[in-house]
């Protein structure tokens, strides 16, 4: 396995994430797309550290990405729950109060 394959997987993850965010209208699905993008970045960091340089910077970055992604998902889901309780919908097209 060379670096190329790892990077290809991460590119695929990244574009899947972008595609999910553009195509899906469900807010939970959009949050999942964000997770895909973050994981693509984490994978990149780990792969670059493994193949190109041996210091631990990249590994530490990937660990922090995982932790912070969890925090972000927690806050994001809490807000989505709040939105659902008020609107009874998790469809992004229902978030139209603020457009003039």
């Amino acid at each position: 396995m060379s670096l190329f394959w790892y990077l290809s997987v991460s590119f695929v993850l990244f574009f899947c994430g972008i595609a999910v965010m553009i195509a899906r209208k469900n807010i939970i699905a959009i949050l999942l797309g964000i997770e895909l993008i973050l994981n693509a970045a984490a994978l990149n960091f780990a792969a670059y550290t493994r193949f190109l340089n041996q210091n631990l910077d990249g590994h530490i970055m990937s660990l922090f990405i995982i932790i912070i992604a969890a925090a972000e998902a927690a806050v994001g889901l809490a807000i989505v729950i709040r939105f659902y309780q008020i609107r009874e919908s998790i469809h992004i097209d229902d978030a139209t109060q603020l457009q003039h």
Partner: protein, 488 residues
Amino acid sequence: MALNYLANIGRFIPELLACVTMLGLILIEATYGERDKDKKILSAASDLGLVMVLGSLIVQFNDTPTAIFSNAVVIDPFSTFMKIIMTLGTLGAVYLNGQSRDVHQGVKAEYNILALGVLVGAMLLASANNMLILYIGIEILSILSYVMASLNKIDDRSSEAGLKYVLYGGVSAGIMLFGISHIFGVLGTIQFTGMGALLQSLSDSQVAIIIPSFLLFFAGIGYKIACVPFHMWSPDVYEGSPLPVTTFFAIVPKLAGMALIVRISFVFFSHDGLLSQSWLGLLVIVSALTMTVGNVSALKQKSIKRMLAYSSISHAGFMLAGAVVVDSVGVRAIAFYGVTYLFMTLAAFYIVSFVQDKYGNDHFERFNGLMYRYPLMAVLMCLVMFSLAGVPPLAGFVAKFNILSALIGHGNYTLAIVAGLNSVVSLYYYLKIVRLMVFKDAESNEKIEGFGFVNQGIIAALSLPILVLGIFWNQIFQVVDKAVLFIQ
């Protein structure tokens, strides 16, 4: 080693104080619970903490620049100066939170806690010296901001604002990280120190990877300061959030992002070369677009809050134009712009907030005939509006003039002309408020409770620097001049 860390912590006191204050506030809030008297203790504690942070920052201002914690964080006068501005902004927003009726009574304490947390993130961002600290800073800033935006839990506009903030924020953070990961892959380090030299020695194929990576990286920061391709969230979030939160968003995250952009332009791109030219070209285009789109969209707004949101976008464009000039003149112009922007924004939002508390909305008509009911407030609002538009004897003019002269000194005439034209456009919507206040009859003669004696005094005190800095700008320049030191 241990001693070294202790010495490092000595330089990190402001951030630690902010953290301790935040934790203390959480404890007080948790122990006192529902009783009414805790509100006073809480606001006193947060004010005390912020004043202490401010004091330690001022003490630190004249220190020599150092990098601490294994080069992760750099404490230099520029970052300290930006931190002072941001702390002042937080202090103003926290006071407004105490007065405003837009934030529900039950969550006022939480506002203070979250604001301190965001301040910590903003401080980290202003003094970040590697990609990890940058990312952690941006995420502390963003994640807590999401909560702040949806602070009024039962208000559907507020939770929608939070929702939009989460979605845009998460996406842009992810895209930024993807960019950073490729920058790391090419350069092999996340430290800022020495990165500028490394960028010089890249082969052509490496440059081909790193230019799109920097584009992705810019998306993340651009989102934080709401510059144009990434500004769509900003008017919605600003309008949906409670007004004290909007005040806070307009100042702290924006200036933190600006400090970061200045540092990145300096550390990475102060050498001449293809990369620097493309980065600066990007900044020129983005700043021109940001100014224009912000101003043109502000023209047709009905809500003053939304108008101020668009105007803060265009001010971010102006500050970005200062970052195009990568030398001490540009940094000085940005630092001065930050100071004036702080006072103008705070004063404008204070007045709008008290009017909105009275009438329940902030449409332009609510300001009709304010001149005949609260002459002092109307005059100060006129002052702020003229200053935001950049009319001569006021601070906003000096700030804009500095940016323009830095641009012209740098030979960037096109951007300077765009900036000048934008000031003219912005006059239209700022003066619309002035016209309504002076030439329209008052809708009613009811008292606005918010404009008590103390609050009027505070608004006057906030507007005073606008006048003073406009005339005696030389004095503040001597302070700002010290702030342009950097560790390369």
